[in-house]
Assembly symmetry: C2
Homo-oligomer: 209 residues x 2
C-alpha cells in the first residue's frame, strides 16, 4: 500500500515510478467517486497522492485520460454475459434487466456508473469511455451472442435505455421511478432490452413494421 | 428589445425592473446554450446583461433558479400531446418516437434539450427542472390521455428512454447510433414508448409477466 504523506517519502514529489502511478490512481478513484469528474482537479489528485501535478500529466496526459484510466465497470463483462445468457436468448432481456438493476442498486457500483455517466455527459472527451468500458466489452458481445443482426447498433440501443435508467432513477431521482421496487422496474424494462437484443429492427428488414 | 451596453443606460447597474430581468434572462439563455450550465457563471450572465450580479441573485436566487427560469421546452406540450394522439392510443408510441426524433434533430431544440440534460446531470439542484418542464406538463398528461394505469410511473419510464436517446445519440454520439437515420431510430424506439404508455406493467397487474 502506498502511504501518502509518509515522512520517509520526499515531500511533494515522488519519482518512484509504479508506486507514484498507483498512488495517483488510488487518489483519483476516490476523488472522482466522491466529488465527480467536474469538481475534481488534477491538482487535488496530485495533492492527495503526495506527488507533483506534473507527474499526473506525465502519466495520464489530461484529466479525462486519468478518469478513463481509473474508471472500471464494477462488473466483469464475461461474467455478466454468461449470467444474462444462462437461460438462452429468449430470456436475455429479462435477465439483463435484473442484472442491471441489481448492479445499480449496489451503492459502490452505482457510485461508479453515476460518476461515469455524469463525467461523460459533462465532458465530450470522456464520452469515449462509455463506449470503451460499457458498449465494446459488454453490450456488443452480448448482442453478438444472441445471434441477431446489426449487433453494434443493438448494443447502442440497449445502452440508451441503460443510461436513461441510471440518469432518471439514480441521478435525477425522478418520482415515482426512483422509489419503485427494483424488481418491478427490472420487469418493466425487460421487454425493452429483449426487443433491442432480439426483436426485428427497422433498418435490417426494410418494410417490416 | 433590451440594448445591452447602450450608452443611455447607467453602466454596470440597472434598476429598471422588468427590463433588467428580461436582459438577464436573454443573456442567461444565450450563455447557458453556448457554454452549458457548469461553464456559465452568474457573474458572466450579469456582465452580458449589463447588470450588477446582485440583481441576478435578487431575481433568481441561485444559478439553478436562473437556469430553471430560462430553460423552456422547445415544444408546446399541448401541441405535442395532440400530435402524438392524433391516430389514437395504439399509435402513440410510434408518433411519440417520430416527434422526439424530429425535435432532437432540430439544432435549436437539440441544443436546449442537451443543455437541460447536461445541467440536470451535473447539478442535483437542477434535476427538478426535468420533472417540471418535461415530465409534468407533457409526459404525465400523455400517459393519462391514453388511459393506462399508473400514468406518473409510465411517464417516468418514457422519460428514461428519451433521456437515454438524447445522451447516447447527441451528447456522447456513440456510433452506430449517432449516424443512424432518424427515421430508423424512431421506428426502433416506437415499440418501447408504446409499451411504456399502454403495455401491461409488472406492478399494476401482479402476477402478470
Amino acid at each position: 500500500m502506498v502511504e501518502t504523506g509518509a515522512p520517509a517519502a520526499k515531500r511533494g514529489r515522488r519519482t518512484d515510478g509504479g508506486q507514484a502511478k498507483e498512488a495517483i490512481e488510488q487518489a483519483a478513484r476516490r476523488l472522482f467517486a466522491d466529488h465527480g469528474f467536474d469538481r475534481t482537479s488534477v491538482r487535488q489528485v496530485a495533492l492527495a497522492a503526495g506527488v507533483d501535478p506534473m507527474l499526473v500529466t506525465h502519466y495520464f496526459k489530461t484529466k479525462a485520460g486519468l478518469f478513463a484510466a481509473v474508471v472500471q465497470p464494477p462488473v466483469d463483462p464475461a461474467l455478466a454475459i454468461t449470467f444474462v445468457l444462462e437461460e438462452g436468448p429468449d430470456h436475455a432481456g429479462e435477465r439483463l434487466a435484473h442484472f442491471v438493476l441489481r448492479t445499480l442498486e449496489d451503492p459502490d457500483s452505482q457510485k461508479w456508473i453515476v460518476a461515469m455517466v455524469r463525467a461523460a455527459t459533462a465532458e465530450p472527451e470522456v464520452a469515449a469511455v462509455v463506449r470503451e468500458r460499457m458498449v465494446v466489452p459488454m453490450l456488443i458481445p452480448l448482442a453478438e451472442a444472441v445471434g441477431a443482426s446489426d449487433p453494434e447498433y443493438r448494443a447502442t440501443l440497449v445502452m440508451t435505455q441503460l443510461i436513461g435508467l441510471a440518469v432518471g432513477r439514480y441521478v435525477l431521482q425522478v418520482e415515482p421511478l426512483a422509489s419503485r421496487p427494483a424488481q418491478e422496474v427490472a420487469a418493466d424494462l425487460a421487454g425493452t432490452f429483449q426487443r433491442y437484443l432480439t426483436g426485428s429492427l427497422s433498418g435490417s428488414e426494410v418494410g417490416e413494421s
